[in-house]
Symmetry: C2
Subunit: 906 residues, 2 copies
């Protein structure tokens, strides 16, 4: 054991490791080595390997210290030589940083300890050497605080107490009437150090370590121990990471950007993170610490001259003033800027991705402290990926993998301007039900939305929950906000279909329809007040926020084209109107995977014959009303089939429980009674009789078609007649009739017979034929269990994973808001199963059904038409299980196409 190498050195352009040694050195350590190897200046340091972590857990402190002591000592002396400073020196003391680093980043692991090596003596030396007493003592009190917290485990005593160090600090600031730490004097800081140490002694019954070596080993052990703390253990378990991986420890020389006017610090990006433009950019501060750039106490300046000029133009600052007050690094330190610019180019070229870098200039010397692949907006992801592809920096597959599918959302919907967001005040948060940005005046009723929008007002419809009666009002609103209902509630599903912004289930808003107010906490908003919604994050803002429409660039089109080149899985859309169908086609949908016929019944006056049908007391009455609906539906289908021009269209027969079509409110019931010339009491009674305790598990889906076969007959006739009419016009309709909510093969047989008989009848009448398929939605657990039996009859399956998730988990999507947040917060569930398919449970059923189905019928088409069809992780699952296609709302089609391509590449 003694012979094994346990400590890896790096610095001065040399390194004992490299980027490929993440398992041994951790991700951070491996990259520190790599930067050295490619000649980027990095403060020298060393890495204690992940293997030592395992030894630590097996052997304990003392034994491990013996194993690494010599190597550590040697490593520190190498750093000392490199930096020309000495650890624990009373003239020019070397300070160190200690960080953890396993092969993947992991919550719960120890944070950074900076300024390690300070004590009552070295602090004086630092003060002298830097000529900045305040800097030295502030670094010292920060060190005690950081070390005390993360290494010594100083915890709040009770729930009432905050961090014990912060309490002392707050007290001090209060007595000094200081708002910021920076207003404290050197004397104050010295007093703080004394008080901090006293507190440590009092709480832990031991002194704060003054020996830098003891400090160093303490920090190293703390890193190892954090590998075994509850949060890390839990996280590993959740992700299936083995304990044996262990964590490495990186120790580096501290460098300071606040050592005078020849020092600086900053962050920079190799390309524009917002737009993706290939332009170097970033901010810096002279004589400052990294924290200062972020904290906003001083305004950081632009690094490049070009950036500085752009900034000045936006801010209305003239060139003279700019040059004087806001000069760029390029102007202030032209030589160092040149080195920095070369370094960023080198790093991007080496890592073949846009880099997000931190640097410090200590006394005219540039040190890179960190480089990593930069986070960026969706637009930026697309542009950078496609431009790097053109630059031949990366290949097609890499370009595809560089764009996060979910981020495409940002490109397809209005967004708030960056300026607007800076000033915005978040007043509450709901579920990000349908993406986009919306701003408008609050209205509480669909009729008002209609009226106000006719007066050219932009409105946000705020409801406790929406119902089909609100459809028209939703259509004219900028966005929808609901207090109840999940990601697949009525509001959410309809809004996504419309491509309209929606925040649903904002649990802590109180809507008072009578008073026409919306209350959040103690603040009440009235009808007419402005609010704004971010449907991509769930944020709700006060007031009017400026929005802008994103423009679909050529890069986007090129990306989509690239997707189709690499994909195996088809992408269809869920669409109920010719308009939606056209939108989806424009996004590249290869057909309609779910056409919900019931949505057609709400538009305009169609609801009246639908209600007449529901209120009829016998079959004859129902048939009479259905006869009125027939030509309407036929025309709808003609429009959709025409829009899809020969691409397959899966039409689902009537699915929702009938109560959704009848008015719930007395006033509306009375109006309806008048219109149908029947007693109001009869309407009320029928509505009452339609009430269900659990409508989700009630009289709906094929259960309707079985109890009222005439509905299935009418719908089949409308579909088949529409297809025949188009055939006359030489337009091919590729029809797939889908029976919803099948749980037994006998249900399927019952409905299939009605469909086939009706189709044959129409063929005879019209003396012509069209091909069509009859298949079913697989959305009930039982259907998965007997999928072989069903597939013997059905020509296709389409997984309705919304309902399947509801029934497999026993979660009502409308009610789960009461416990799902707790579940995802406490990791009882890794994710909301309505957003990302639960592969372990629901996925097992899908896979079982796919396998059984394929066994019984080799040609079985398999699709998915739940909301999961537009979720990237779920698309990957669908690819793995071998589905034929996924289907999602029109605006999610590009996302699904990209996810599908990525799945194929993986």
């Amino acid at each position: 054991m003694k012979d094994k190498k346990r400590v890896y050195l790096f610095g001065d352009g040399k390194a004992e490791g490299n980027a490929k040694m993440k398992e041994l050195l951790g991700g951070k350590g491996a990259n520190l080595c790599e930067m050295n190897l490619i000649g980027v200046p990095v403060p020298p340091g060393f890495i204690i390997t992940t293997e030592v972590c395992t030894e630590y857990n097996a052997l304990g402190k003392e034994k491990v210290k013996k194993l690494i002591e010599a190597e550590v000592k040697n490593a520190v002396s190498v750093i000392e030589k490199s930096m020309g400073k000495k650890f624990n020196d009373l003239k020019n003391p070397l300070l160190l940083s200690v960080r953890s680093g396993s092969r993947v980043s992991m919550p719960g692991m120890m944070d950074t300890v900076l300024n390690l090596g300070l004590n009552d003596k070295t602090v004086e030396a630092l003060a002298k050497k830097s000529g900045n007493e305040r800097f030295a003592w502030d670094s010292y009190r920060r060190f005690i605080q950081m070390y005390g917290d993360v290494v010594m485990g100083m915890k709040p005593k009770s729930k009432e107490e905050h961090d014990p160090f912060e309490e002392i600090l707050d007290e001090m600031k209060k007595s000094r009437k200081a708002k910021n730490d920076t207003e404290l004097s050197v004397k104050d800081l010295k007093e703080l150090v004394t008080k901090f140490k006293a507190m440590v002694k009092k709480r832990l019954k031991k002194d704060f370590p003054t020996d830098p070596w003891e400090q160093l080993y303490g920090a190293v052990y703390a890193v190892f121990e954090s590998w075994m703390n509850d949060r890390a253990v839990y996280y590993r378990k959740l992700n299936g990471y083995p304990e044996e991986w262990g964590t490495a420890v990186s120790v580096q020389a501290m460098v300071f950007g606040n050592m005078g006017m020849t020092s600086a610090t900053g962050v920079c990006f190799s390309r524009d993170a917002a737009t993706g433009e290939n332009i170097f950019n970033g901010e810096y501060l002279v004589n400052a610490q990294g924290e200062d750039v972020v904290a906003g106490i001083r305004t950081p300046l632009e690094i490049t001259l070009e950036g500085s000029k752009r900034w000045a133009k936006l801010q209305g600052v003239d060139e003279k003033r700019r040059k004087k007050e806001f000069p760029s690094l390029e102007e202030v330190m032209p030589e160092l800027y040149k080195i920095l610019n070369e370094t960023q180019k080198k790093l991007e070229k080496h890592y073949k991705d846009m880099q997000d870098m931190e640097f410090t200039i200590e006394d005219n010397k540039l040190w890179m402290l960190q480089t990593r692949n930069g986070k960026r907006t969706g637009a930026s992801q697309v542009r950078i990926a496609m431009e790097m592809l053109k630059e031949k920096m990366i290949d097609e597959k890499t370009a595809l993998m560089r764009v996060e599918p979910k981020k495409l959302d940002e490109l397809l919907h209005p967004i708030f301007t960056t300026e607007a967001l800076k000033k915005a005040k978040v007043i509450t948060k709901g579920l990000p039900a349908s993406p986009g940005a919306a701003t408008g005046q609050i209205v509480f009723f669909a009729e008002d939305a209609d009226k106000w929008s006719k007066d050219k007002k932009q409105v946000i419809l705020v409801r406790i929950e929406t119902s089909p009666e609100d459809l028209r009002g939703m259509h004219v609103s900028q966005g929808i906000l609901t207090a109840r209902g999940g990601m697949t509630s009525h509001a959410a599903v309809v809004a996504r279909g419309m491509g309209k912004c929606c925040v649903s289930g904002a649990g802590n808003i109180a809507v008072d329809y009578k008073a026409r107010t919306l209350t959040i906490g103690k603040k009440t908003y009235k009808e007419g007040d402005f609010i704004s919604l971010n449907g991509s994050t769930g944020d709700v803002y006060e007031g009017k926020l400026a929005t802008e429409d994103p423009k679909l660039s050529g890069d986007f089109a090129a990306l989509m084209k690239l997707c189709d080149k690499h994909t195996k899985l088809g992408v269809r859309t869920n669409a109920d109107t010719p308009k939606d169908s056209a939108v989806a086609r424009s996004f590249g949908a290869q057909g309609i995977g779910l056409c919900r016929t019931e949505h057609m019944f709400f538009e305009g006056d169609r609801i009246t014959p639908m209600r007449e049908m529901i209120l009829a007391t016998d079959e004859a009455g129902r048939r009479k009303a259905l006869a009125k609906l027939l030509p309407i539906q036929r025309k709808d289908f003609e429009g959709i089939f025409e829009a899809m021009k020969g691409l397959p269209v899966t039409v689902r027969l009537l699915d929702p429980p009938l109560h959704e079509f009848v008015p719930a409110e007395k006033k509306n019931q009375e109006e309806l009674a008048k219109m149908l010339k029947i007693p109001a009491k009869q309407v009320a009674q029928r509505v009452d009789s339609l009430h269900e305790v659990n409508p989700m598990l009630g009289h709906r889906g094929c259960r309707l078609g079985i109890t009222y076969p005439e509905i299935t007959e009418m719908q089949t006739r409308a579909i088949i007649e529409a297809a025949l009419n188009l055939k006359k016009k030489n337009i091919k309709a590729c029809v797939e009739i889908m029976i919803p909510l099948i749980g037994t093969v006998t249900e399927f047989e019952n409905q299939e017979k009605i469909i086939r008989d009706t189709a044959e009848k129409v063929f005879k009448e019209k003396k012509d034929k069209v091909d069509y398929l009859v298949g079913t939605m697989i959305e009930i657990p039982r259907a998965c269990l007997i999928a072989d039996q069903i597939a013997a009859k059905a020509e296709f399956f389409s997984f309705g994973t919304n309902d399947l998730t509801q029934m497999t988990f026993g979660y009502s999507r409308d009610d789960a808001g009461k416990f799902l947040p707790t579940y995802t917060d406490t990791k009882i569930l890794p994710a909301d199963p309505f957003q990302t398919i639960d592969q372990n449970g629901v996925g097992q059923l899908v896979e079982m059904a796919a396998t059984k189905g394929k066994k019984a019928r080799k040609t079985l088409k398999l699709g998915i038409c739940g909301e999961h069809g537009g979720d990237p992780d779920s698309v990957v699952f669908c690819h793995k299980v071998g589905l034929t296609y996924v289907s999602c709302s029109p605006y999610r089609v590009p996302i699904a196409r990209l996810a599908a391509a990525q799945a194929a590449i993986k």
Copy 2:
């Protein structure tokens, strides 16, 4: 093919077949042979084999006729010789009966054709020979009607028309002002024959066949064809019977009991079908046809002298009058009685079961027309089985198999007296939710039930549906009638637990709470009116009906003892109170499989702290209220553990959604607010916030314990403290703590940790320990899919097949009433899956979970505690799947024990 034997003869004590040849001769044919072989006089006849049926379907009429013609001709001549009559004879014509008979009885198959061989000529001969012209012509018109219907396929023309023959008959009766057929004259009958034949000619464009041979072959072919009709095909498919089985045809000589005073006819039983008493009994009529005994036109008389005397005593008829007007067969035809008595003894001995027989005496000769195992009451089944066992007629296993488990219900609950039922008027029908008979005055509110019962009135609580608030009212009522809700609705489940009669989901009753009326069709019943309920059939009667308590005989106890000797599956009970526990123990329950803790919260004033807990706005408030519930629950558990004396008790933690505990009505909310000294609006808001769209899939089960861990803590503490308290008294408590509604292993881990931590805490406090298990209810489809993961943590599984069925099918038990009847009527479902477990779907999940669970933990206990635990078919399934025990409501324990024993024997 020509050489094969296709026709089997029987008669005169000889037969070419026997009882074992059911596959070739059908059940009926085989038994006709058998009776001959054991010397019982049976009208001679022959059987055309099932193989001929298959040939018929392959070859058609003509070819089959050639194959059987010679054998049939020969067979008829044998019958002719035996009977001394001749087929198609003009002096003494032989008439035949033709019946179908496959190896199992099957709906849709052809009925009987009697009197075959009659035409305009033979009818005259029959009239002459019998000296009874009316008899001859009535037989003839019946023959045409029967033959026309079943052989020639005369069907009603439209929905408005009834049977076309009946229409003519009704017209004739109307014009003759005759109420009964018997009032028609010979002339009328002759005219009917003419009209019937004309109708056949008009409808079918062919004459009614006059040639007896043509009639015979027509009937035979009709039997074969009925094998392929839709109903029979469907039934076979449903039961998995192959088409190849085919049906046989039995042809027999007709005999007549109405040929004068030396003729008679009757039905008889070898033991008493109602009580099981070992006494020969039955009824007869001199000079009558079989139909007359059944039709009730003449009052049939007792066969035995003893029976006749008993009857006279009951009717208050003195011996003199009895002898004259109502003599027994034993007195009237002593010689023939003796033969009959010997015959019945012989048949019972031969078939080793109680026989239900039909006989005809034609001119002083006894013919047995049929014998079969007799249908009997539950009490009779038990007595006969146990007495035959004592008589060594049958062995233990056979005795056990002779009792239908479901019939035991009759022995355990009050029943209506036979006299009461004779006069009873059924006014509607609901679901047989909880067995028993109840009679009382209608009340509509639980409070009234309470008040009225205090005034010594017997009441029936009539509700649209019940809620936990009605518990006390249900308790004091004789029975419960609800308009909504299925077999597992609140009313049904609670009533079964109480052993109280309940008819639920009587869909066509209208309850008007305001008017306090119950309307069925056009009739309205008021509060205070008497109605009666039969919870075993679902019948609702008008008025007061006498009931009687069944007495549990020694035979019952002996049967139960026998069960345990042969059973492998344990039987536990679902019980929530010491009283229920004691009842269940007395019925032989081996533990409690499901103790629903929530029921405890409703009794008395306990609901108040429960509501206080729900209304609390923070954890501290909830803990305060829970502290009040703790001593109450602890005491409850002590009572239950004590009652079960060391038998295992599975306690389920709080399961139902919280809204079930809070008052829904405004008035009650206000009262509660007053009691808790909080604003009424706060109560209303909280109740409103608890509202759920699909409560079944909402915030309940372990989801409560996870969001409010303090509830789990309190319940665990109550359980463990109760067990420790009993330990001090030297009473062992065998505790199994069950976490409800587990869908993920993380949920289980979360709750298990709270339970184990709390238990450890209590152990420390009390300085003592008890053993306990922690397991879970498996009632969510996902739990079955990941059962291996769960079993790695859980010590037992209890299948909650009610909820599992709801979620696997996607049926809400409270709403399925809207389509389930259609589903079971049209055989889309073979049975209500809430009554009998769906082996194909839900069963697949149960089996999967059992297998996966056992794999992960060999010692895993497996139980079932859904309502299926008391359903015999489901018990058989549980046995097959290898469960450890079933658990059911106390009154179902004997049923489950018997079903379990039968499952082991099978």
